[in-house]
Symmetry: C2
Subunit: 381 residues, 2 copies
């Protein structure tokens, strides 16, 4: 009944593998582009396929509000609704409830919140989140957790962690009773991942990991990171968590990061990551390249006939110049968002392809300290 | 030295033909998608190619303001700048100066105007318009004309027409002296079209046509239409103009129209048309289909699993549902603009393909009174 996950090669802590979902295989370590409301912003599905994305992430909070999970379920689930035949992971809605909604009130039962769109009142419980995610029909769904705020003292962090653990159990119970209600039943079975919290406290990370693993999920996520802590702290908390997670299940770090971070975390043994950074930065004219970050609106690119990234083979770098992309951005042409996003996603997915290749070659340490980390250099001088 | 134009079939007044530009052949009658500032809004160049567009239209006014014609020239011309290897037509900037700019002042010499972007002051003369268009390097460029306002009395219309005729002569003179300065010289020669004005007065249309033809341009446009007159009047003025234009040169009606109009004008013997309608309407959620116009934001489409147009084979209709397109539009996803535009342009280009086919079959009247005109039906009840 569990999610098939095979490890294909290992190099130190890093590993490459393959998750077999009801909607195709996912080679790991994988970066998942974010398709918030059922679309990778500005990029048509065929272009996302061409980029080689094998799995994308949909946001439960957004899809619940619009178009509504019942509509999506009635139209065959999210794959069918958005015409995406490959794998989908949905988050639990927890993070957006905590970061986007207004006037939220947390009780043992769940979270009362107001929509950031129209102020309407809603109530999410662990059971409700799972119900919505079953209706959306992602291949992998996530337990409903409380993302502990940062900073938080140890007592508060433990309290929040304990709530997440109690909610995780409720999520699992509800999922076991209802997972056959997925729109594409019986073509396969959804997988449910647990989420480790514990804030910035290593011993709480360990406790959270061990107690989450006891409940036996299909995979484990490290949540509560990228909430304002230093990059060193993020990395430390990932390390402090990973060592207590089973090696034979996918390990997913949520909401990270810059290109050099995703390469680094993959080297540490992380199998899955997602982040809005490549798509959001693209819409603000920030391109990730092998030569560092490039702010395309800069005047210096006005007559630059080079491609965005001379070492990139994506459709954008093969066809367009920096001068043209700058022009599109400064004139507000909507095509700017599309082209910038295609390049940034290409860069992220290429980064993960290179990481997988390096791990297969048993050379992960080499590639990580070499070319890939240069991708994270700040704007060129 | 003239623009090669061969007529390949005729049916009553309609004809199919082929214009051979320095950047490829253009089958006529043709609809030219508008790429205002060097981009068909929301649609990457490869997608415009896939739609089968053989020529697109760039707006001189917009490109002059941003990124500037000198920059475009220095980077090899508009084809190179925007990475579009097929044909381009640029307008003269006249229409935008009259419709977009502020505080314009017209003299015999030219037009003083302020940019709609930043209020900066600019001066366009016929020579300046040609200079800019040579720098942009379109395959076909247009004489700088005054688009007579509507309504206008006969005296005012004649005065405006006379000014356009004097400007046309100056454009031709300047073009003959400078056309070898095109960025892609000596790969070919730009073509210059004259523009017929004359407002809503048939005898002035005749006089404007005859006097423009005397100057010997590579093709002739009918300007000053779609300025608020009735559709019958547009059609009448086109007819009153076409009969005085040579049959062996391309005839171009500027700024039209709805799908059934472009089919009708092609049947009348028009070879070229352009309009922002398919692209602009798409961004407002209005789709043109074989079943009539479809306002995609309408609640009735929320659960509609049919394609936008069941008789359309475009990439959007092959993959996405009305329900999904409605969701994208109402949530403000930028992908909505891309997908709606791809469909609308596909519908327009398919319409012209069908018209060309019908003309070849000698059945233009049949197809025009039949299927195609249904495309123009208002929103379904």
């Amino acid at each position: 009944m569990s999610l098939p996950f095979t490890i294909e090669s290992q190099s130190a802590a890093a590993r490459t593998g393959r998750i077999t979902t009801p909607h195709g295989a996912v080679e790991t370590p994988v970066f998942m582009p974010v398709a918030t409301a059922g679309a990778v912003k500005s990029v048509p599905q065929d272009a996302v396929e061409e980029l080689g994305a094998q799995i994308i992430l949909g946001n439960t909070y957004h899809l619940y509000l619009r178009p509504g999970h019942e509509l999506v379920r009635d139209l065959g689930g999210l794959h069918n609704f958005m015409s995406w035949e490959r794998a989908i992971l949905t988050d639990s809605g927890g993070f957006q409830v905590f970061s986007l909604s207004a006037l939220r009130k947390i009780t043992e039962d769940g979270v009362n919140f107001r929509s950031h769109l129209d102020g309407s009142s809603h109530f999410f419980t662990p059971e409700r989140s799972i119900e919505i995610q079953i209706a959306l029909g992602g291949d992998i769904i996530m337990a409903f957790d409380e993302c502990t705020e940062h900073p938080a003292d140890e007592a508060r962090t433990r309290e929040s962690m304990d709530l997440t653990l109690r909610w995780a159990k409720r999520c699992k119970n509800h999922f076991e009773q209802h997972n056959s209600e997925v729109p594409w039943h019986p073509a396969g079975r959804q997988a449910l991942f647990g989420i480790v919290q514990g804030g910035m406290y290593g011993h709480l990370r360990r406790e959270s990991a061990e107690r989450t693993v006891e409940m036996e999920f299909d995979g484990y996520a490290v949540g509560g990171l990228s909430v304002g802590e230093s990059r060193e702290k993020t990395s430390e908390m990932i390390a402090r968590t990973l060592q207590f997670l089973p090696t034979d299940k996918p390990r997913y770090v949520m909401g990270v990061g810059y290109p050099e971070e995703i390469a680094q975390y993959a080297a540490m043994g992380v199998d899955m990551m997602d982040c809005v950074l490549p798509t959001r930065a693209a819409r603000h004219g920030l391109l990730f390249t092998s030569e560092g970050r490039l702010n395309i609106k800069n005047t210096r690119y006005a007559r630059d006939q080079g491609p965005p990234d001379p070492r990139c083979g994506c459709k954008v770098c093969s066809r367009y110049t920096r001068a043209y992309l700058r022009h599109l951005f400064v004139t507000g042409e909507p095509l700017a968002g599309t082209l910038n996003t295609v390049h940034n996603l290409s860069f992220y997915l290429d980064t993960m392809r290179a990481v997988r290749h390096a791990i297969c070659l048993g050379a992960s340490s080499g590639i990580l300290s070499g070319n890939l980390s240069s991708a994270a250099r700040p704007e060129r001088p």
